[in-house]
Symmetry: C2
Subunit: 454 residues, 2 copies
């Protein structure tokens, strides 16, 4: 009656991988929101080789290095879909002002006087420090001297979409839009094949870039298969200017110019109606929703639920630190989840799972990078963060999404990986000299404070 | 030509004090918003003996102990004007729900099943840990088994206004309002002369406490010179019930009952019109503005600017961690400053200086404690916090109020004093055993998670 002796098929030999992050609860953010308790992520050559139960992956893989994440959450790195990183150096110089006072009395004169390659370098370094420390692994940036942004992000090990600013009026790095476009072309030429740096064009807005400039932007973007980022429909003031100057709205204006397309990311989109939302969805335009900036500058509340219902690829962004005043995507998530509830008087709006998605895969999609990043799935780039769950505001932990969106703070981020490389380990930064950055920030503070209007 | 020899008057001998906190920038929050760079605070017998320049105070005082706060901010401890601390144990059990579903399917059954003296003890201990770690030195609480709240707050060294819940319907600790009042009386009797614990009555609301109960509340409060705290005009649902049942609004209802007075604190006051705001101001009622809770539960946006303009004593509160989901007054400040700007489309609303005041002296005034706490002035209780300014989001630091309200996180709090006693020093808690609290929170998590509806 004994069964015939069976030989178990020999287990395949364990495969070598570079790194195994193991032991925590993995929030994959994959299409079915898979959560793996006591899981592991295997990383090879900067990409995710496998995600699954720890025991299984420990059998299947022989890692060069292990990173213990027991009792912690492992999730995709946060993606900041819109910022102006170097503006850290202007953080808090002028809060609580009328928008025009803020721009004309503070921002424009300060930028004209202080923004230089060195300013952008140190401001972006400070921003990279803040972003890595708070769990952001990708940021989309629009500013000047964008080669510096690309270089600093590269050195810091972050993933970035640096966008070269284009204005018709003189800026700190170009006397007109032609000069801005020339800067774009240099940027695109230098960085187009970098694995982490995705250079882009950043025409500022429909009211600072003339209609005739848009075809040249489109032509250059097409030639390099480049992304384009623009501010659109941010404030009542912008809507008024567009109505007066062009008799239309920013999104319709862009549609007429043939500027809407699947390589475009529009920041803000606060003042868009149903037809414009349909236009954005039809053309595959991504939207960077910057709730805290829109609140602080009193711009308005974007119709998030309508955009999502229409299929628009929406992601979260902090906007620049001069108007937020930080680069904290945890704060942004907490605000977004609550703002849309009170704005609609509907407490079921912007639930935690949706908001976490907007800060990861959603923001990746808004930047047209969703095939590469935004979730923990085999084949994707290994951009992930490890978040601790031991602070009092994490207790008791009934659901990780609720914790991450409603009560976690950015200081819960312990470890940050981009492209499989560790940028911060147990809160120690690996790629930046924070003391040197602090000294330069202090030097700029003294200079800028002395120049502020009394 | 030499001047005659003058004898300098002998300096008075230095006075002994218990503690000198010295070297940081002092934000006094006094009536003229005095800021003292390189300052010091001298503390004797739990009260502030002096605030001023460090060199001067070092000459005038001989401290038993020195606390170095160089490169840091020293400010009044934050005052949380409304919470339900023990509800930490229900943090995040059910977010993103319709209010009635949240209450009837989750909160009420969970409270009926789990709330006991031990639950309140451990939930409040967890809350005290979170509050001390995030810079809150005083909290006003409404819950059940309030003797436990008072005891735990006392042990933790915090200042508290524990309010015993009063309902007509059965609660976890009383079968009706008479039993609730009996509990109030016991609480008032035991704690009335404690220097840090100010016992109070907490009739839940106008729709859960009958009109005939209010005179008994008033009588008991008068007998003990006690404070009364109530929820009022929080949500559209409450307004509807009051309209149907009494043909009026909560504030008018309270006015008719003679329940408005200078010992009352009304939480929320989201739905109050100009006449009601005038009533609140005339009667000296304090208001606890709980912006994040009102947002998350989609209750509405309180008319903060109107209340302040009318002279109402408004302070900030987090509300309970089941509806916020934390006790983080820094998060609350950041939200309040931005919410009122976007709600009014006016970026000059709720400026940083105003919001910091609402979280300190304003909240103290809302609790009728402004003569004792809320600012750093000689004679006041020595409740203060030391906040670091070295994290990247603090750089560059142009103005401390901007930093504290718009970019600081609660983890910047390093040191916390209440009544001159150090409750946390350089992030090490001095009065609570956090590992024991963690174990009990985990035990409750297991029990409560098993009881949650699927």
């Amino acid at each position: 009656m004994s069964s015939p002796k069976k030989r178990r098929p020999a287990a395949p030999p364990p495969q070598p991988v570079d790194l195994l992050v193991l032991g925590g609860t993995i929030l994959t953010l994959d299409p079915v929101d898979t959560i793996v308790p006591d899981g592991a992520v295997a990383i090879r050559k900067g990409r995710i080789a496998a995600v699954g139960p720890r025991r299984e992956l420990e059998r299947r893989y022989r890692p060069r290095r292990r990173l213990d994440a027991r009792d912690r959450l492992i999730l995709p790195g946060l993606v900041n879909a819109h910022t102006h990183a170097a503006m850290t150096l202007f953080r808090g110089v002028s809060d609580d002002q009328e928008l025009l006072t803020w721009l004309e009395k503070y921002m424009f004169p300060l930028e004209a006087r202080f923004v230089s390659p060195a300013f952008v370098r140190w401001g972006t370094r400070l921003a990279c420090w803040e972003m890595i420390a708070s769990g952001t692994t990708t940021f989309a940036d629009g500013y000047f001297f964008t080669q510096e942004v690309a270089r600093v992000a590269d050195e810091a090990g972050l993933r970035a979409v640096p966008g070269q600013g284009i204005f018709d009026v003189p800026t700190p790095d170009a006397k007109n839009s032609a000069a801005g476009l020339a800067r774009c072309e240099a940027l695109l030429g230098e960085w187009q094949s970098h694995p982490r740096i995705t250079p882009a064009l950043c025409p500022h807005s429909c009211y600072t870039v003339a209609p005739e400039t848009f075809p040249r932007i489109r032509e250059l973007a097409a030639r390099y298969h480049a992304r384009v980022m623009i501010h659109a429909a941010e404030s009542p003031g912008e809507m008024k200017i567009m109505k007066e100057r062009y008799g239309t709205t920013p999104v319709r204006h862009l549609a007429r110019l043939g500027a809407l397309g699947p390589n475009l990311t529009a920041a803000h989109c606060v003042w868009v109606d149903d037809d414009e939302i349909r236009l954005l969805a039809e053309h595959g335009v991504g939207v960077a929703h910057c709730a805290e900036s829109n609140m602080k500058l009193a711009s308005g509340t974007a119709p998030l639920a309508k955009m999502l219902a229409a299929g628009v690829a929406v992601g979260l962004g902090t906007d620049g630190p001069a108007s937020n005043n930080d680069l904290d995507m945890f704060g942004e998530m907490a605000t977004v989840a609550k703002l849309h509830k009170v704005a609609s008087l509907d407490p079921t709006r912007a639930p935690a799972a949706q908001v976490l998605r907007l800060a990861t895969l959603g923001a990746a999609a808004a930047l047209h990078l969703e095939k590469e990043i935004g979730s923990l799935e085999p084949g994707k780039r290994a951009d992930l963060i490890v978040v601790e769950t031991s602070s009092p505001n994490a207790l008791p932990l009934y659901h990780p999404y609720s914790y991450l969106v409603y009560s976690a703070r950015a200081d819960a981020v312990e470890t940050v990986l981009v492209e499989g490389k560790i940028l911060m380990e147990r809160r120690r930064l690996q790629t930046l000299d924070t003391e040197v950055i602090r000294r330069h920030a202090e030097r700029y503070r003294r200079q800028i404070a002395a120049a502020l209007p009394r």
